[in-house]
């Protein structure tokens, strides 16, 4: 029986749905309030760099298709277990825990903005939500599986409509007269590229749908690129709408810029529209992230990169340790208080630094495999030889260098990132040497990494029982 394959519009919708999160709106508000419509230039630069990444990850997927471990397995085959652990734990587990905490804070802040009479801190709402989501995940219930795409598309559709309405000045009586551009200094524009970068990260989550796509070689990279461009256009419209309806100062201080904008544009209708859509989107995405991070950790433990405890499941089949660890960490971060846009931006930017490092590693992986397997068939190959991966890596490094316009904030971000990195380096080195008993930087053969996808792999390759075929081999 032929299963119906996804076409280009479905790929674009799915990819965009995976990229856009409610916390993006906070970054959009902070960036716009700081430099006005010049933030659109920052977004275009960030969008281009994400498109280069989408091309690189498409080539890796062509060479090592249908890997559930994604970046962890690409890096294992290119740079060995040490870098793989750092990239995956830092670039996905730590970073997503931080960014999801910010996403969760949007839930509390949104409720706080529409129910100020309750006088509750936003953190209370967040922690209650997280406890509920932890329990739901521990019971193995994915209550959002069927509505997740609907909720994500609802958010995209709402933002698009809101952006268009604001741009065409649908409500002329409430227009705010203020300068469109607050800075034309290129240094200012570049210093907000890091924040803008966050608006586009996550396109690699579309890779797993490749096997459901008709002609994935061409359509998957194309769909990812188009979705990034569509998101860039949609956010640009919102920035223009912000300029027309929200005073820059109020926008910069707001922890719920979408609600502020919705209220300014459409009154109470706009308030409740944006609040309801964003609350559903946050709950759905945080639930998914708690679940997916625990399963990523489960997968990493399966191939020996994390302790076995991440592989333990409860009676409902849920990887309980990961669920409690990631959900619990998010609860602690939220309980510590994320009540200002500055603290949320800091958390997002710090998480983004690790995600950016993971993206640089992805570009380098492409170059390594080009050198090691120059003749291996690639259904998709990034055009222009090494130019795009090199330019993409340099561009992202430049963004990390300019992660914030405020030097004190930048140093704090570097400080926190360095502390986390040191912890990761120690863990990765000790774990690789003592538990995995492998060389830190010797890559695995591609076929060994591909074999890890087989469900019988852990049975035959359990380091605890000494049965292990996987040996670092360089392809000839």
């Amino acid at each position: 029986m032929n299963e119906k394959k996804l076409g280009l519009p479905s790929i674009i919708a799915t990819s965009a749905g995976l990229i856009i999160a409610t916390s993006c709106l906070l970054s959009l508000g902070v960036g716009s309030a700081a430099i006005g419509e010049s933030f659109i230039i920052s977004m275009v630069i960030a969008c281009v760099l994400n498109i280069l990444f989408a091309l690189s990850v498409s080539e890796l997927n062509a060479l090592m298709p249908n890997l559930t471990g994604g970046l962890a397995q690409y890096t294992l085959a290119c740079m060995g277990p040490f870098i793989s652990i750092i990239a995956m734990v830092g670039g996905y587990l730590v970073c997503n825990t931080m960014i999801s905490s910010a996403e969760c804070a949007m839930f509390g802040n949104t409720l706080n903005s529409i129910f100020p009479q309750f006088g509750l801190s936003g953190s209370v709402y967040c922690v209650v939500l997280l406890i509920i989501l932890i329990v739901v995940n521990l019971r193995g219930v994915d209550m959002f599986a069927k509505v997740q795409n609907f909720v994500a598309y609802g958010l995209i559709f709402s933002l698009l409509i809101m952006g268009i309405l604001g741009t065409i000045k649908i409500n002329p009586s409430d227009i705010v007269m203020q300068p469109a551009v607050l800075s034309t200094n290129f240094a200012d524009i570049t210093s907000y590229c890091g924040l803008a970068f966050f608006l586009f990260i996550g396109c690699e989550y579309a890779i797993p749908i490749a096997n459901k796509v008709d002609n994935p070689k061409r359509k998957l990279p194309l769909g990812m690129v188009i979705s990034l461009v569509v998101i860039c256009i949609m956010f640009s419209l919102l920035v223009i709408g912000f300029k027309n309806y929200t005073p820059w100062d109020a926008l910069g201080e707001s922890t719920t810029p979408h609600v502020l904008y919705g209220t300014a544009l459409l009154g109470p209708l706009g308030t409740y529209w944006m609040a309801i859509v964003s609350i559903f989107a946050v709950v759905s995405s945080v639930n998914t992230i708690i679940s997916s991070l625990s399963y990523i950790a489960f997968g990493m433990a399966k191939i020996g990169l994390l302790p076995d405890i991440f592989m333990k499941v409860n009676k409902k089949g849920a990887p309980w340790f990961g669920i409690i660890l990631f959900g619990g960490t998010m609860s602690v971060i939220n309980a510590a208080g994320l009540s200002t846009s500055a603290s949320l931006s800091f958390l997002i930017l710090t998480g983004t630094v690790f995600w950016m490092i993971a993206y640089i590693i992805t570009h380098i992986n492409v170059l390594i495999l080009r050198k090691r397997l120059p003749k291996a068939p690639r259904a998709f190959k990034v055009p222009g030889g090494p130019v795009i991966p090199v330019v993409g890596s340099i561009g992202i490094l430049w963004m990390i260098w300019n992660i914030s316009s405020d030097s004190a904030t930048r140093l704090s971000i570097y400080g926190v990132s360095l502390l986390i990195l040191v912890a990761l380096v120690i863990y990765a080195a000790v774990w690789t040497k003592k538990s995995m008993k492998r060389d830190l930087f010797t890559p695995y053969a591609v076929e060994d990494v591909m074999a890890m996808e087989n469900e019988l792999y852990p049975v035959y390759n359990n380091p605890k029982t000494g049965a292990s075929k996987v040996h670092p081999v360089m392809e000839k």
Binding site: P377, A451, N461
Partner: protein, 119 residues
């Protein structure tokens, strides 16, 4: 016209892909054999902990077809990309020269023996 013989050993699942590509590359016929065999892994499954010492023969398909030498690079690129999964067992492709071809019924030789007859 110089001709080449392409022999492809691959899994059963890939035959349909190759068959559907025939028209695109001007191939007028193909022969498929059901074969048993193994490669350098001696039939070891990719997940198995230890490599087999004695060869285990696995069922495969072998496709033999002939096409003009000038079309070989494009065809090989297409076939390689279609067969590629990155896993052990994707297959092997053998390319060799054809000295002559004879259509027994008519006695036509060379490329003409592969083409539909003109009436």
């Amino acid at each position: 016209m110089e001709l080449s013989r392409i022999e492809i050993i691959t899994s059963n699942a890939k035959i349909e892909t190759l068959r559907s590509a025939m028209g695109k590359y001007g191939i007028t016929g193909m022969t498929v054999f059901q074969v048993m065999g193994c490669g350098v892994q001696y039939g070891t499954q990719e997940y198995e902990g230890e490599a087999k010492v004695e060869p285990t023969l696995l069922p495969k398909q072998m496709v033999m077809l002939v096409l003009p030498k000038e079309d070989v690079p494009d065809f090989l690129k297409f076939v390689s990309e279609e067969l590629y999964t990155g896993h052990i067992g994707d297959g092997k492709i053998f390319v060799s020269d054809i000295e002559n071809i004879i259509r027994v019924r008519t006695g036509e030789e060379g490329y003409a023996a592969l083409m539909p007859q003109k009436h």
